[in-house]
């Protein structure tokens, strides 16, 4: 189960925004992944997320391994689409 998203906030995916994603992904039953150009990062790890180096306007794919994590997928997607409330 996956969704394609655009990073809209000015600073891109930085430490604080990554921390917000990781906080949500930690509650997932199975893996949550952020994929950029074939490179996948574990969404529960800030460090892994930062290693993707997503600047503003990057297109990324958000993917959950288990359908039961649909609510988490939705919440992370909303967070990214709203530019992390910045």
């Amino acid at each position: 189960m996956s969704r394609e998203l655009l990073i809209v906030n000015e600073l891109g995916l930085h430490a604080r925004s990554a921390a917000k994603i990781a906080a949500l992904a930690k509650n997932a039953a199975a893996g949550v992944w952020l994929i950029k150009g074939g490179q996948a990062a574990d969404a529960a790890s800030i460090i892994d997320l930062l290693s993707l180096a997503c600047a503003k306007d990057t297109v990324i794919t958000l993917k959950v391994d288990s359908p039961s994590d649909r609510a988490i997928l939705d919440r992370i997607a909303a967070l990214i689409e709203n530019g992390f409330g910045e």
Partner: protein, 596 residues
């Protein structure tokens, strides 16, 4: 850069603080925590090792959380980065991987953590984005917190070095320098940094020889190597041969004898042969330095830098902590004046707990000193209250740094008045007549000096920044550092302008930059009609001695002549021709042979 003679290696760096020392090298790695122990954990003990790691993370988490809880509401933006640190502490890539490595490779927790952090750092180092690259600092910080809890009481941090050593480091941050027990350090050697870097200034103030900017010292020097640091020449010798050792031992004794001879008369006032008395005061950074100001016959503190208490900690100091330290200095010096400069944070001295802010591309022109304080009135007022309270115990003056326009002075004074009114109301004693002044270190302040003079009691010329900003030269940049010159005609004309404004308006004129610490500049400074000089305590004896051999009247004539000269090289030559004789005769050494 280096050439070998047998086993001996000679490296040339920047002479940051004069003097010679010979001793054992002590290497500090970047984090200030010493090289961690490495051992394999027996299979049966692996669970305990993992528990030990988890406990260290738990403790670090509690520490960070405690700091967040202590952070006042209006400083919450600093706390945000701490929230990130909290999450990072438990990050899979750090936490789970370390546990993984302990289990699979049987590494001890410290070693496992180091391995993981090393990998993460390598990954971030490859990134092009400077913001992301800089996140390595957060990861390092977090792993350092864990590491400190892991190593616990057995850690060999620089704070705990217990033998006399020469410190060799890639670079020393202000917070690291502040941890060092300085009496244990014979000398400093670093790969980075220059004369005006933090390490350089500390080394000069404490009269410890230092050679900085060596590029490769940490790669060449090994722990416990015998090394010679020649701070006067900017030379480092690793594994010296016996002949070299003997030669330097002689030079070391000679240098110390010269210092002793100069210091003998330093309690005498700095009075010229024609009876003009110039006050010579001391610049200090640590309260401990007051002793050397008094020993060297200082007539007060002309510059008390207050950044130190804001470094090497994760929160802002409280009013009481600041007051307590200021009072120490003020009481010891009373009735002599202590000029407290308000917080002058800049790129080189950035506070660790504000590291969440995006790095400035040009910190020297960025949010620093008075600009920072006016933007953070709460932080500023805490310091102003502490200064005012200390003023009840002696002779305190308050000085604002980096003033570039009138509005800044007015606003700073308004906040000071606000603090005074609040203390008055609370019935806390302070000096209502406290003298207020500004640093003159931005060219615009020189140009509008007549306007600024109406608002303050004194000007103190901070030559280091004034020269740097006027000539557009970064002294830390080896490519252009040689262009930095206090004798540039533009600088001398600025000084002349300030002196005219001071005479006309009655504002007192002081100087506290490095220019004031070079005896060869004394004819110029006397000609300018300054009332006070404030210099590094170690420069006091030579400066006073030089002043005592000059005539004020002659110096004024000389200064008028100098103003007509068009280049720094020519001015420098003229000073040497006219006054070099006094110096070499007085100190019985050729002028070029001494690095002051």
């Amino acid at each position: 850069m280096s050439h070998e003679q047998g086993g001996e290696i000679r490296l040339k760096g920047i002479s940051a603080s004069p003097g010679i020392c010979i001793g054992k090298a002590y290497l500090v790695d970047r984090e200030g925590v010493d090289v961690v122990k490495r051992y394999l954990v027996p299979k049966g003990r692996l669970n305990d090792e993992i528990k030990r790691f988890k406990a260290a993370v738990k403790k670090a988490t509690d520490e960070v959380r405690a700091i967040i809880d202590r952070t006042p509401e209006d400083l919450r933006e600093h706390a945000l980065i701490l929230e990130t640190h909290l999450v990072l502490l438990k990050d899979k890539m750090l936490y789970n991987r370390t546990i993984d490595i302990i289990e699979k490779k049987r590494f001890n927790a410290e070693w496992a953590l180091r391995t993981v952090v090393g990998n993460v750092k390598a990954m971030f180092a490859k990134m092009a984005d400077p913001y992301l690259k800089a996140r390595v600092a957060d990861i390092e910080h977090v792993s350092d917190l864990i590491l400190r809890n892991l190593v616990g009481a057995n850690s060999i941090k620089i704070a705990e070095i217990d033998k006399r050593v020469i410190l060799v480091a890639h670079d020393l941050s202000p917070s690291e320098t502040s941890q060092i027990q300085l009496e244990r350090i014979m000398g400093f050697v670093t790969d980075r940094g220059g004369k005006a870097s933090h390490t350089g200034i500390i080394a000069q103030a404490l009269e410890i020889p230092a050679v900085l900017g060596l590029d490769a010292a940490t790669r060449i020097v090994k722990n416990d190597d015998i090394i010679i640091v020649d701070g006067s020449e900017g030379v480092l010798i690793v594994n010296p041969e016996e002949q070299t050792l003997l030669r330097y031992e002689e030079r070391r004794i000679g240098y110390e004898r010269f210092r002793a001879a100069i210091t003998r008369d330093s309690h005498l006032p700095a009075e010229t042969v024609d009876g003009f008395r110039l006050k010579v005061m001391g610049n200090i950074e640590l309260p401990e330095e007051v002793v050397s100001v008094i020993d060297n016959g200082g007539e007060g503190i002309g510059l008390y830098r207050t950044e130190f208490q804001y470094l090497s900690r994760s929160d802002f100091p409280t009013e009481f902590e600041l007051y307590d330290k200021y009072r120490d200095v003020v009481e010891v010096m009373a009735p002599l004046p202590v000029t407290i400069r308000t917080l002058d944070i800049n790129g080189d001295k950035v506070v660790s707990y504000t590291s969440g802010a995006a790095p400035e591309t040009n910190p020297a022109l960025g949010l620093r000193a008075i600009r920072y304080c006016l933007k953070k009135p709460q932080v500023f007022k805490t310091q102003l209250r502490a200064i005012l309270r200390a003023s009840a115990h002696g002779n305190v003056r308050v000085m604002f740094p980096m003033i570039a326009s009138l509005a800044e002075v007015v606003e700073a004074k308004r906040l000071l008045a606000q603090c005074a009114a609040a203390l008055e109301k609370e019935g806390v004693p302070f000096n209502r007549e406290i003298e207020t002044g500004i640093m003159i270190e931005v060219p615009s302040a020189v140009v509008i000096a007549d306007i600024l003079a109406r608002e303050v009691d004194f000007f103190s010329i901070g030559t280091n920044d004034l020269i740097q900003y006027t000539l557009a030269i970064d002294r830390g940049n080896r490519e252009v550092a040689h262009l930095y010159s206090p004798l540039h005609p533009a600088i001398l004309r600025m000084l002349h302008h300030l002196s005219k404004v001071a005479t006309k308006t009655g504002v007192k004129l002081f100087m506290c930059g490095e220019m004031a610490g070079d005896p060869m500049n004394m004819p110029i400074l006397l000609g300018l009609g300054l009332e006070e000089l404030s210099v590094n305590p170690r420069s006091m004896p030579v400066v006073k001695s030089m002043i005592r051999s000059l005539s004020r009247e002659e110096a004024c004539g000389f200064f008028r002549k100098i103003l007509e000269v068009t280049s720094s090289a020519e001015i420098s030559r003229l000073i040497h021709d006219s006054y070099g004789g006094i110096v070499s005769q007085k100190f019985q050494v050729p002028v070029d042979g001494i690095d002051w």
